[in-house]
Symmetry: none
Subunit: 220 residues, 4 copies
Amino acid sequence: MALADPQDTARRRAPRVDAIRNREAIVEAAAEVLAEQGTAVDVREIARRGGVGMGTLYRHFPKKEDLVRTVLHQDFTRWADSARRAAADAEDPWAALTDFYEQALAGYARHRAIMENFELTWAEPDLDGIRQLRLVIDELCARAGAAGLLRPGVTTDDLLLLLVSLGHAVRITDDCRPRMWTRLLHISLDGLRPDHRGPLPDGTAPVGRTPEAPESPPSH
Amino acid sequence: MALADPQDTARRRAPRVDAIRNREAIVEAAAEVLAEQGTAVDVREIARRGGVGMGTLYRHFPKKEDLVRTVLHQDFTRWADSARRAAADAEDPWAALTDFYEQALAGYARHRAIMENFELTWAEPDLDGIRQLRLVIDELCARAGAAGLLRPGVTTDDLLLLLVSLGHAVRITDDCRPRMWTRLLHISLDGLRPDHRGPLPDGTAPVGRTPEAPESPPSH
Amino acid sequence: MALADPQDTARRRAPRVDAIRNREAIVEAAAEVLAEQGTAVDVREIARRGGVGMGTLYRHFPKKEDLVRTVLHQDFTRWADSARRAAADAEDPWAALTDFYEQALAGYARHRAIMENFELTWAEPDLDGIRQLRLVIDELCARAGAAGLLRPGVTTDDLLLLLVSLGHAVRITDDCRPRMWTRLLHISLDGLRPDHRGPLPDGTAPVGRTPEAPESPPSH
Amino acid sequence: MALADPQDTARRRAPRVDAIRNREAIVEAAAEVLAEQGTAVDVREIARRGGVGMGTLYRHFPKKEDLVRTVLHQDFTRWADSARRAAADAEDPWAALTDFYEQALAGYARHRAIMENFELTWAEPDLDGIRQLRLVIDELCARAGAAGLLRPGVTTDDLLLLLVSLGHAVRITDDCRPRMWTRLLHISLDGLRPDHRGPLPDGTAPVGRTPEAPESPPSH
DNA sequence: CATGAATGAGGTTTCATTCAT
DNA sequence: TATGAATGAAACCTCATTCAT
């Protein structure tokens, strides 16, 4: 049995060695290109970089979106995994949280496709890869909250939105002012500290002072 | 010279007047469309709404980007103007600052093209319209700082980046969770308060705890 | 007024001269190609024969189907018109009917796209061009029936189906046995003569002798 | 020879037996799919339903057309056989003929590929399967003719073309007006009756009244 | 000078056929 | 020998930009 198995699987798997290599090459190439250029890339560019023909690509991923989803799922998952590990290593819940942001922003904020699709978190909340990341944040939030290190009322959604928001900041400043975003992160994290006991708005009322004549956007 | 010119053009009244009207119609239509749909919009849609032909549009703006820049310049300028007025009306420097954010985010964050192109603030810092907005923020920053209402070390750039960053948050949550962003604004503004005396990073060193193995993004 | 009009229209129409010429060239090329090859043709072939670029074609006809419909409408209409004229010229109702079939089959049965789309007569009965043709047949049917020259119970639908059916016969024999179909037409028309008083089935019951074990098609 | 061969292959059992089984599986699957969807079907669908790989399929049938021909040959043959049997059972020559049409149209007219390729009867007259069907019709024709039940001059080709022609009628009406075609069959069969003594055209001259200006098709 | 028609490269997807395993 | 992955030429359609009128 133990002997037969390798052969048996070999028989079945023989043709697949190439396919698997190709699939991986495609996914890898796509991950590269999607990170660099976002989801608007030409599928041919992916095929070219993966060293495969269009047909091969479309055999593995019948629609461009399938490929994009696969890559995003993979990258989100990797991200979530490494974040989980880092959280486990952290000294205290607050350090876990700050490390998470630092590493997320230093690492994944350049991934155009990830950042592009992060916004779907609210519009289409169950994109599978994002869910995993949300779980990580959920836990970070709970731990810091339980330890009394987090401003009361802060939710996972708040932390997630902060992440996306800062991710955008990273992307737009990264070329010219490489770590300028760390200042913003610092500020935001301080705003999350528990010594701010002022209640957060419920997401329905305006913040700060209500403007009497809420300056409207250009009339167009 | 200064005398002859107006007369000369006045004599052939039609061209200049029409041209100006057309130019304005184009810019107005473009402002509308760019606010709604962002820079990816079809140029023909702009020409159609402006009631002019493609040729006219391209005579005034040889490249799509020229038109986009013009519109953004205008809209940034208008924004800066209204923000300046609002700042003058505010009771105190802190209220001026919070009002500015609230109104900016409630109003201009829906302007797709503005938000899309805000990122050029750092990549291409002299987009003229943005400079004006920056001046307004500069003043808000200075006033709040002088009144001791702002955390030490906060710069105009920080406030600008916060604006862009929150603008992104608005855009991605606006459809599903209309005012969720107010919570993030609250948090960030609290982080800007002067009771946070911890120094901000200089934009070169990592924030929080230095990660020993700064988890890198996917190797691509 | 009479003077102004030409100028006025000229002002508006000037640019269109080309467009109209192109549109006509496209339709003409499409008519050719569709007649020859049916609706499966490559759009580029049409553009090439029309001497225009793809963009021009798609400006006039945003979808391939729009172009196909336009051509079919035009060709069906022409057909219906000429058939109406021919019917008016015919000596008697029977001659009108036989002439119609003869001419239809000699002329339009080679038009692949027309024949392809004829089958939609029942599936999608209101394709506009076909309706006109149906009216012609309706009249032929009524006249012949009123003159007692047509077998009782024959309907427009019967005549239309006969036309499509024989059209198919024409297409498949045309290359090798050019006018073989005339024999079938002869036979069918004789079957339509009023001396056949046997009632036609109502389109629900089997014809001839009911097969005890109605030989089924291959079990697949 | 007859003895050695089976033994020889039996010794290396796998190749021949498998090959035959595969070939049959392919043909069967193809018959199914071709009947359902016509010749435009994707080859992979056939391989999938047959449970074989593309390579196997292409080993047996180097071109898609080879497979199509094989299937059509088989299906035509089966059809011819069952038709022959039915003809033998029929009470009289006329019943044999009408039964043949009724059954053919009720059964095989839904076989998309058969109907599609029936047209090759004249273009490529020696497709072997069709020849067999032709023989059946030949006999039906001869028997009915000999019994004086058929209009003089009617040929096997006429009957064959009628079959194809009505088959087309079946296909295009089957979905919406399931048995409408029986009326057309009735009419055509009546036109074949011997009381129509009018000579049939020889397939070269126009039928009915000669149109003075034989309305030509669109000038293309 | 205004018009809007024309251009054609470029994007995604399908499928008959070949070829490495 | 069987497998099914790989190939790549089309096919349809869009849109920034140019050019004849």
